[in-house]
């Protein structure tokens, strides 16, 4: 996934595209995240102004959904499912092995190139352990296969 570099002007343009739509707050934040990979919090007051709401309200929505980021993402993303079915299929070991390889779940990898995020069920239980690598769904993953993918 390629993100644009955040600039306030470009971001405001995205905000304005969505400001007049009904229920614009989620749409706007999602659009920002899609475009730039995250939402810069210094822009909250301006986003609020455009949407005719308060800064706190934007902050509330932004922090309610764990999907929203407020810092730039690493260039590669692993979303590893750590829910029940995948646990039954051995994801705990995957987590351990990943950590050993410098890919702690919930953190950025040691080499700084990959974000590793634990999520709950990707709807791919039958093929667990499941993960999204840069948004692409993968089944039967191992630490090795994941690291290989993000370093390829």
């Amino acid at each position: 996934m390629k993100y644009l570099t955040w600039t306030d002007e470009a971001a405001l343009e995205v905000v304005r595209e969505h400001a007049e739509k009904p229920g614009p707050m989620l749409l706007t934040l999602q659009a920002l995240q899609e475009r730039f990979g995250y939402v810069e919090t210094s822009l909250l007051p301006s986003i609020a102004k455009e949407l005719n709401v308060s800064r706190a309200e934007v902050h509330g929505v932004l922090t309610y959904y764990s999907d929203f980021r407020t810092t730039p993402p690493a260039s590669r993303q692993i979303h590893l499912c750590v829910a029940e079915a995948c646990q039954a299929l051995g994801v705990r070991d995957v987590v351990k092995e990943l950590a050993a390889a410098g890919y702690e779940v919930g953190e950025r990898s040691k080499d700084g190139a990959t974000d590793v995020v634990g999520v709950y069920c990707l709807g791919n239980c039958a093929l667990g352990p499941a993960a999204l690598v840069d948004g692409n769904l993968c089944g039967r993953v191992s630490a090795k296969s994941l690291v290989a993918q993000v370093t390829s």
């Binding site: 005719n52 709401v53 309200e57 934007v58 509330g60």
Partner: protein
Amino acid sequence: MTLLHEPDLGTPAVKSDIEVELVIDGMPTRVPAGTSVMRAAALLGTAVPKLCATDSLEAFGSCRLCLVEIDGKKGTPASCTTPCEPGMVVHTQTPKLEKMRRGVMELYISDHPLDCLTCPANGDCELQDMAGVVGLRDVRYGLEGANHLDAPTDDSNPYFSFDESKCIACSRCVRACDEVQGTFALTIEGRGFDSKISPGGTDFMSSDCVSCGACVQACPTSTLQEKTVIQIGIPTRTVETTCAYCGVGCSFKAELKGNELVRMVPLKSGGANEGHSCVKGRFAWGYASHPDRQLEPMVRESITDPWRKVSWNEAITYAATRLKDVQAKYGQQSIGGISSSRCTNEEVFVVQKMVRAAFGNNNIDTCARVCHSPTGYGLKQTFGTSAGTQNFASVAKADVILLIGANPTDAHPVFASRMKRRLRQGAKLIVVDPRRIDLVRTAHIKAEHHLQLLPGTNVAIVNALAHVAATEGLLDEEFIQTRTEEKAFRDWFEFIKKPENSPESVEAISGVPASELRAAARLFATANNSAIYYGLGVTEHSQGSTMVMGMANLAMATGNIGREGVGVNPLRGQNNVQGACDMGSFPHEFSGYRHVSDDTVRHQFEELWGTALQAEPGLRIPNMLDSAIDGEFKGIFIHGEDIAQSDPNTKHVKAALGAMECVIVQDLFLNETAAFAHVFFPGTSFLEKDGTFTNAERRINRVRPIQPPKTGKHEWEIVAELSQALGYPMQYGSSAEIMDEIATSTPTFAGVSFAHLDKVGSVQWPCNEENPVGTPTMHVDGFVRGLGQFMVTPYVATEEKSNRKFPLLLTTGRILSQYNVGAQTRRTENVNWYPEDLLEMHESDAELRGIVDGSFATLSSRVGETVMKVTITDRVPPGVVYSTFHYPTSGANVVTTDYSDWATNCPEYKVTAVELRPSIKPPQEIGMAAADLGLELVNE
């Protein structure tokens, strides 16, 4: 004297014509349809346990403590969110409910610090109360689980602290900020167990919070807590009183511990504010005990001498002798007085009485001259009474609000909250202002039209609005026919139809696009209820009085007078502007707006006061100053007013004061004017006053002392003694007796007495036999003058125009945290929000002059110059600059001219032609120097 607990019925009152009957715990009851079960129970005296509900907020249903059982209904519904239905049989106390509630409480307490004994809210905490109510005895869950006990405390706000560890996430604070205050500064951050209250991801001070305190008041725990409570402790007794800052006139409970003021809490039953307040009234009362306050009388031979502290006796005798000497030397007309709209009605009444009866002339004026005198003039001409037509609550029925030259979120915050609530419900807003005030666009508020006119073109705009109504068939014919004078209407109709009043012509004068004007006019004229609210941006102009009449014309022409939701409403600056005007402190009028030349009225006062009174008007403030410079006016008594800072053209004012031989100043502080005084009488703060204030809705509120005067004397006592010393006996046993005299002599106040006010809380005048509890809406069946009178209101451009030398137009205003010349607010923690006056200018104007954001610039007009810090903003259009006037160091009035309203001489603060140039030096201590001089001399 105990602490007043106003009952909390859990959910707000509901208005409905339909009543429903139900039974609660075996007791039958009737309530308006839509009332919650919780409220119905509370009305019966049954307090259902609750945490997230409080009757200033809509029910939320999150804490699950208020569960009840209802026959025939499954489960245990929350009583706060369940509306009463006919025939319901409700049980609020059953073993099942008790068990459930105890379980809920256990969970709350398991994540709450158990330091009740040392908590500042000990004894004033709803969580603690509820634990007791549900009979919580032990908690099965230890505190070792995940908890929030280490959460940090946010102490950034100077007045309250936010101790997150005590938060029960009831979100009452969030809802108070949204629903009551309308600022939306708070939110719940995160979700689930991690959720917590946050002012938008920063601390309170850096957030949108305006420190109104509504959240603090709503918080059931000690999470949000006044710092004074933390320092001093829980208060033990209450004195009900009235805020002394702005014309909203909020009612407060002053809560004391012994004799120490702990906090001010707005009174729920307060007619003006209904339980809400702003940062000034709730928190900024520290000035009353500021060390700068003068507590002893002082005199001096000449203004270059040091002050000498003397006894009251000596000071009063000295003042009287000096005044008598001046009169002996220069004649009876050579002295006068200025009353203050910060003082009580009773104080103002005795000051004007002293001037008329003891000075023996009518040279009495009031500082209302400089703010709202055109309101009195204009509304008297058109409607017959010098006051606004509605109560504040009326705005809740307005469909269109036309807001002209007022900035309520800063200057009248509690009214602004009411207005915002109505706007969020869908009412439409039209803003007429050169500057983009907050209400043009702020969270959940968006003005339909912002007519961003050039300063000084108000009359052209209001005429254009009326022109559209008149020429597009949008007049209310029936109202005009039945309620107004026909001939005057004909004249007006012919006038207003003229092409010079068309939006197209007015566009050229005002800079407002004709299409925008037309659209705004149609919106105003076609709504069911359209209301006009206005402030000093209307009155402080050379055509202030004309503009007031123009707005009255528009309201009459569209039938927007005489019911709720409509009207013409001044937003008064100071707390008692209305009262000061009512009490006869204009040189041409006795109390109740009756001309001094009216023989019947004058004879009545002559009889009452036992002395002859003059039948001709006396001097107004500007005329007093002019004739002082001419050497004819030589002595003045200035009551609680700082004319050297607040009046226009400071140089002229100071020259006039310097030319007088006896200047007596009565104030809390040695103000700018005191630098020119020979006698200084220390005044009392509102915490020591006993009397009444009258707010912008004509509401007479009681001001009650929490302590005796720190100076040893009430201000009315001083005036009475000075009168006495001048040879005119004036004796009152208490201020209640003064009100009795006001009631006897003033028909609109006939039914007012302290006893009556103590009984009913407050009344809106006229209060008399026909209206024993006052008059919320005026001119309902007819105007006070009988038929309404249209006035022809041609636009006359001000002489103060921008030109080559002074190409910019300066307009002035005020900011939320500060008040007027700032004598009080500058002496409180409010300086944290606004430590200096700022001048706003547009980027293009700044660039042209090489002025950068945050730098100093020299502001000059044809009368003077001063240095101010510049903020570059798009709030003002190119060609217009805006500044506040709260600090003497910047002396914004150094540059304002002495142009004034043609009818009332209200100064034209809102238009001054100016120029700016970069400056390297910070503002000189222009005003402060004078004040400091006074202070130093005392200390010598």
